[in-house]
Symmetry: C2
Subunit: 437 residues, 2 copies
């Protein structure tokens, strides 16, 4: 007696897997994304996310602004708009960039769905599969995701206490070109780097620009935090030093509010023309109501004072984090001291691995982003990014206390049972601007 | 005596032309875009644009909705949100789609920056350069732009009075596959087609779906106008007939307002996962404030009655256009009779060319979109798209009067001087559902 033939069942979870584009294989969930679910639980102190704290925004005033906008001008503000973005907002953007020394014409600006979409559109018009993009080591996780989705090869360039190292940049360009590959641009975050927390001095910006110009290389300057410096005047943007070599990305997400999803790209005129065509293809036009709302807020509200309020609030939180780290981190841990922005980059004692440690940290009710998220090449396991932007100072200090306990525990386990040292974790460019406690 | 050597000048207008990605070469300004500048002059009756008429929206009520949203919930509504889109809005979207027979779970929806971005993301995850996309002949100009920007090959499929022809679809799939090319999906607009103005009957939808399933082909169903039918109940969406084969694109641009830039994609679960990753890479998250605003509008306002008001208003305008065409078009002109939506597709008398005629039409203070905009292959010169959505009925009738004079003049010139007949203009699939006046 024979058993019946087993019925063939389709066990693939994704019936469409054979049909996706090659680029879809590069679209994978980021560590930050996977963390959101746990880190949002109220008992967890999340030092992971990059959400700005918008609690200080004048909600009554903003509410009146959007009410009047609909009632007085709703038929325009709720209609389709320009693919390039609304002219009045583009003028106001020029006023804002002037605070960092950028002199620009509104016609050279393309409004985008947050500066994330600016980066997506810039990559879309410049990068073929296999093209190389140069990024700092480490670099913004969302940028790495964009470059991966366009099938670019990311080559990381070392940083030091002043950010991107011009000598390392020269060498990286040479090495890539000697390998017969094509570099499309350098992507850099000069102010209050995400995740490294360091800032390029003016002299450093001049050096980086000189290297890029000598190599005939475009510079993509990503500057979401530039106006959130804690002390003194903003350092001039790289774009203020050269209009032809630099494509500048700006955002209202940190100086106003991210939910409107409005950023911008300032680019040389010919590039701007391509960007507008790409924007029309991607969305027809960026969110019109959001643009009118921000434009009215800027016109009717003292936004400079609002930014000052934000800066002082974030400085207090930065100070809380630095104090907490000093009090609670075990010996052998180091971190950067940001002069603005949202992030501190921590280097763990030898033998610790931020990625494998994460589940225990979440169990101890503290979350961070493992350093590996900020590298395209698997490095970063001895680092973590801590953000101080969203939790209160008290919660930040409590978070560092919990984190300190996790590190102490990990070290005691390693001492007891030994540990494998990950070779990849000790490359010099993995410790940008580390300041020993 | 010799003249000095001439100084070599860089005469390229675009210094970056050598650096663009291959896909950027497919990004060119559309006929619609070039028209906006002239068609927006007040003295021109524009029958060109597809802007909805949102003058009937209750601005006071919407103003109160957004005011209360900021004051009561601004810290959430103005913050970063979900890459997939806000859960409450996704539930409401399911309620809306139920009106066309679609039963869907909120978790299978991805919110997008208008349905244009839905189409961009779907193409992004499915299409490699050289992949074939099947489209109706003619098809939506914005879709052709997306397919071009992803370097797809568009193959047009004939239509008749009931829209896409299933027999022609079968033949097109066979021809493409015999040529060794890969078809990634069929893109179709079943309701009140843009630009053709025709609608697939339920039986036709079943036939199209059967052909697609037999060929193991995904169907992208683009349905921005489905709820704007002038008579009777909506015909069930193709998606209501099959959940695995159909990716459905929806939009609030025509049933509420386009300036919030909110659309959605309903897709099988595995595809939805890719879409969310693509959305996060493209924008981090779709506009949060827009989503909360629409969600609150849907919850607090009788949006079904509002859609009824829109339908009656558009029906009056459709009637005005049909009357104007009957009164003013010369013999030999034919057009479709849309049962909803925004557009009439006109077939000109032999010998006329809508593209070359356009400058004279604009001089006569009437604008339209030449049929060539809706073909990827250069056909369409004997057609034009007329929209009745935005101008008042009186302006629509005046527009058709001016257009009739332009046609009469062109025909008299042709009679006097003779004309070259464009071979390409007489392919049978260029006259979808043409009803002789």
């Amino acid at each position: 007696m024979s058993l019946p033939e087993p019925v063939r069942r389709d066990t693939r979870l994704d019936n469409y897997v054979d049909r996706y584009a090659a680029r879809a294989h590069g679209m994978t969930a980021s560590a930050i994304r996977a963390l959101f679910a746990v880190a949002n639980r109220p008992e967890v102190v999340s030092l992971a996310g990059g959400m700005p704290n918008i609690a200080d925004l004048p909600l009554d005033a903003v509410g009146s602004v959007v009410h009047d906008l609909v009632v007085d001008n709703g038929r325009v503000a709720m209609q389709y708009g320009s693919g390039q973005g609304e002219p009045m907002l583009r003028e106001q953007i020029c006023d804002i960039m002037r605070l960092e020394g950028v002199v620009a014409h509104p016609d050279d600006i393309t409004v985008t769905v947050g500066s994330q979409q600016g980066l997506d559109l810039v990559t879309r018009i410049f990068c073929d599969p296999g093209d190389v993009v140069l990024c700092e080591a480490p670099s913004y996780v969302g940028a790495l995701g964009v470059f991966s989705s366009y099938q670019c090869d990311v080559v990381h360039v070392a940083m030091d206490e002043e950010g991107l190292d011009p000598q390392a940049l020269t060498e990286a360009i040479g090495a890539v070109r000697n390998a017969g590959k094509r570099v499309k641009f350098l992507y850099t975050i000069p102010n209050f780097h995400n995740p490294a927390g360091v800032t390029q001095s003016l002299e450093r910006r001049q050096q980086v620009l000189a290297v890029a110009k000598a190599a005939d290389l475009l510079v993509i300057e990503d500057n979401p935090y530039g106006l959130l410096g804690f002390d003194g005047e903003p350092i001039p943007a790289i774009r203020s030093l050269d209009a032809d070599t630099v494509v500048y990305l700006g955002s209202f997400s940190k100086t106003f509010a991210p939910g409107f999803r409005i950023g911008w790209v300032l680019a040389p005129h010919a590039v701007r023309e391509k960007l507008v065509l790409a924007q029309e293809s991607a969305t027809l036009c960026p969110p019109v109501f959001s643009q009118f709302a921000i434009s009215a807020y800027l016109a009717k509200h003292d936004w400079r004072s609002q930014i000052k309020i934000f800066k002082e609030m974030y400085r207090d939180r930065r100070d809380a984090m630095l104090a907490g780290l000093s009090d609670h981190m075990p010996a052998g841990t180091s971190w950067t001291v940001p002069e603005g922005g949202f992030f501190v980059w921590v280097t763990l004692p030898p033998g610790l691995d931020s990625q494998s440690m994460l589940p225990r940290a979440v169990t101890a009710r503290v979350a961070y982003v493992p350093g590996t998220a900020f590298y395209a090449d698997g490095f970063g396991s001895r680092h973590m990014r801590l953000s101080y932007c969203f939790p209160t100072p008290e919660r930040i200090i409590e978070g560092t206390r919990r984190l300190g306990e996790v590190l102490e525990y990990e070290m005691s386990v390693n001492e007891t049972f030994g540990t494998a040292i990950h070779q990849g974790s000790f490359k010099p460019y993995e410790a940008p601007g580390a300041n020993q406690t």
